[in-house]
């Protein structure tokens, strides 16, 4: 049923630390690997070794340059996957009931055998979290690795989403964001975690930790201002002549 649950028992989701992410794309690869080999239709590639490679991914890493009013530009890597929104617009638009939000943990899933591949849920998602698989004709999205996190056949340390398990920088955290005492909720409170596109009214469960302010290096060498410059900035010889000649024109 595509009606959203009034509340969910847990709000499982991810916390992504933009200060720590190094943009290595390991989460993209581990996600693609796990979700191609396990639950549901594989994530296909079209023309993977040809001139126009393209494929289905449930997690993509963007990179942004942010230029402050003063100081150096910053480069911020920005992983983006399904945010498992509380008010998920992708679920309510689904005509077949293939899309649903689970009451027990809040995960938004697609029942692929009910999906007609109309694409309307991808239209309704502001984050680009849903992608139509070009070979299977069904909608694919992040499952929060529902086939890992409850899987008792896996060692306990592996019972978390593949992207979190693989992140070498520790930039991704998984937990219950509905429990204010959970590690992830504490982290969000401490670091001022934010929602993406809050004005869209989707109430995302996943949170992003904004980059912390950069250190400003203080001038520590008290003698430096008194020293003669080592390099004479005035050009000599041919360049000096050229410089003066150009000045006169």
């Amino acid at each position: 049923m595509t009606s959203l649950p009034a509340s969910t028992e847990k709000k499982l989701g991810l916390v992504i630390d933009l200060d720590t992410c190094v943009g290595c794309h390991a989460c993209v690869i581990s996600c693609k690997g796990w979700n191609t080999e396990n639950y549901g239709a594989p994530l296909s590639d079209t023309d993977p070794y040809g001139a126009e490679p393209s494929g289905t991914f449930l997690n993509r890493v963007h990179s942004y340059e942010v230029q402050p009013a003063q100081g150096e530009a910053q480069l911020i890597h920005f992983p983006k996957s399904c945010l498992h929104c509380e008010d998920a617009p992708c679920v309510t638009v689904c005509p077949t009931g293939a899309s649903y939000k689970r009451v027990e943990d809040g995960i938004v899933l697609v029942n692929e055998s009910d999906c007609i591949g109309c694409g309307l849920c991808a239209w309704a998602c502001p984050y680009g979290a849903r992608e139509m698989d070009q070979l299977e004709g069904v909608m694919k999205k992040c499952t929060l690795c529902v086939d890992r996190i409850y899987n008792e056949n896996l060692p306990e340390e592996d019972r978390q989403p593949a992207c979190v398990r693989t992140c070498p920088a520790g930039a991704r955290h998984f937990g219950d964001l509905g429990d204010p005492d959970s590690d992830v909720s504490q982290l969000v409170a401490e670091r001022g975690g934010v929602d993406l596109m809050p004005e869209q009214g989707t109430k995302p469960v996943n949170k992003y930790l904004p980059p912390r302010p950069k250190d400003a290096l203080p001038e520590f060498d008290v003698l430096a201002p008194f020293l003669e410059p080592v390099v004479d900035a005035e050009p000599k010889g041919f360049l000096g002549w050229l410089d003066k000649a150009l000045e006169k024109i």
Binding site: T2, P53, P89, V93, C118, W123, L196, P210
Partner: protein, 291 residues
């Protein structure tokens, strides 16, 4: 948004077909027998043909029946129901006119209202999407679909006076959707700063996309090629869809001129509907530094 031919043809022709059914349901023109058969055949070819073409963009059309289950939340599901109810009621009503020389007035009116409701539900599929601010305008987007459907229906049904008045109204609504639509993304408050939440550090610029190649999201949601000629196409659309038919209808009546009016109108609506998709900016484009 990618202007998919299947959806453009669907919304244009089924809009026109259901518009014609609306007028037939109210008894304009009051036809029976073979004349009624001709009118209903045209209406059904347009409406059903449009619906069939809409299934071409589905990944799994064989599961289309499942789309009737979620009418509580989904406008797409509601559209399916309204279309089926309208087509069944109007088929019964049409059978009365064609085979029994009987006009079952109440059945016709209910069928006409469901025909209109079908067009309304189609428009709401687009109007409900907050992600596409140009479409997310109430009541403008439903007014655009409904006014064109009723005006086109009047044109097809040979209701000349109504057609002229309704075409002028539809033209005014079309211009309003363009003018309001051009400001919609800006007014929505969604931009790269809100998308990335990095705006409080400084000006955000997309530095590197996630992949060197393209992807489903860019193909489906970021269509910038066609916007280059948008202004010219708007004038062409308005000229064909509204001005040409109105001028032709105001001339002394002639079946050939009426046919040209219909053809011009359909070509104009197709152009307008192409623009409706090609000009629509999905907010996901912002993550790619595009719109």
């Amino acid at each position: 948004m990618h202007p998919a031919p299947s959806v453009i043809f669907f919304s244009t022709f089924s809009g026109l077909g259901f518009g014609l059914l609306f007028w037939l349901g109210f008894g304009f023109p009051a036809v029976t027998g073979w004349t009624a058969f001709a009118f209903f055949t045209i209406a059904y070819i347009l409406a059903v043909g449009g619906l069939i073409s809409s299934t071409f963009h589905l990944g799994h059309p064989e599961r289309a029946l499942k789309a009737f289950t979620q009418w509580r939340t989904s406008w797409l599901s509601r559209e399916g129901w309204c279309a089926v109810v309208a087509l069944v009621l109007m088929a019964l009503y049409g059978a009365g006119l064609v085979f029994f020389d009987q006009r079952w007035t109440l059945l016709g009116i209910i069928g006409a209202l469901f025909s209109l409701a079908t067009v309304f539900t189609t428009s709401m599929i687009y109007a409900q999407l907050k992600t596409i601010p140009r479409w997310n305008q109430l009541p403008l987007t439903p007014a655009y679909f409904l006014s064109l459907s009723i005006a086109g229906g009047a044109l097809m049904a040979g209701q000349i006076t109504w057609a002229v008045v309704l075409l002028v109204i539809a033209g005014a609504i079309q211009i309003a959707t363009w003018l309001m639509g051009d400001k919609a993304l800006e007014n929505s408050g969604t931009d790269m700063a809100s998308a990335t939440q990095l705006g409080n550090i400084g000006t955000v610029r997309a530095f590197e996309p996630p992949h060197t190649g393209t992807n489903y999201l860019l193909r489906e949601f970021v269509h910038v090629v066609g916007r280059k000629h948008a202004q010219k196409l708007r004038i062409i659309a308005l000229g064909l869809m509204i001005i040409a038919p109105v001028v032709l209808l105001l001339l002394p009546f002639n079946h050939f001129l009426a046919l040209i009016a219909v053809v011009a109108h359909v070509a104009g609506v197709l152009t307008s509907r192409w623009l409706f998709f090609a000009e629509a900016e999905h907010v996901v484009g912002l993550y790619y530094g595009k719109r």
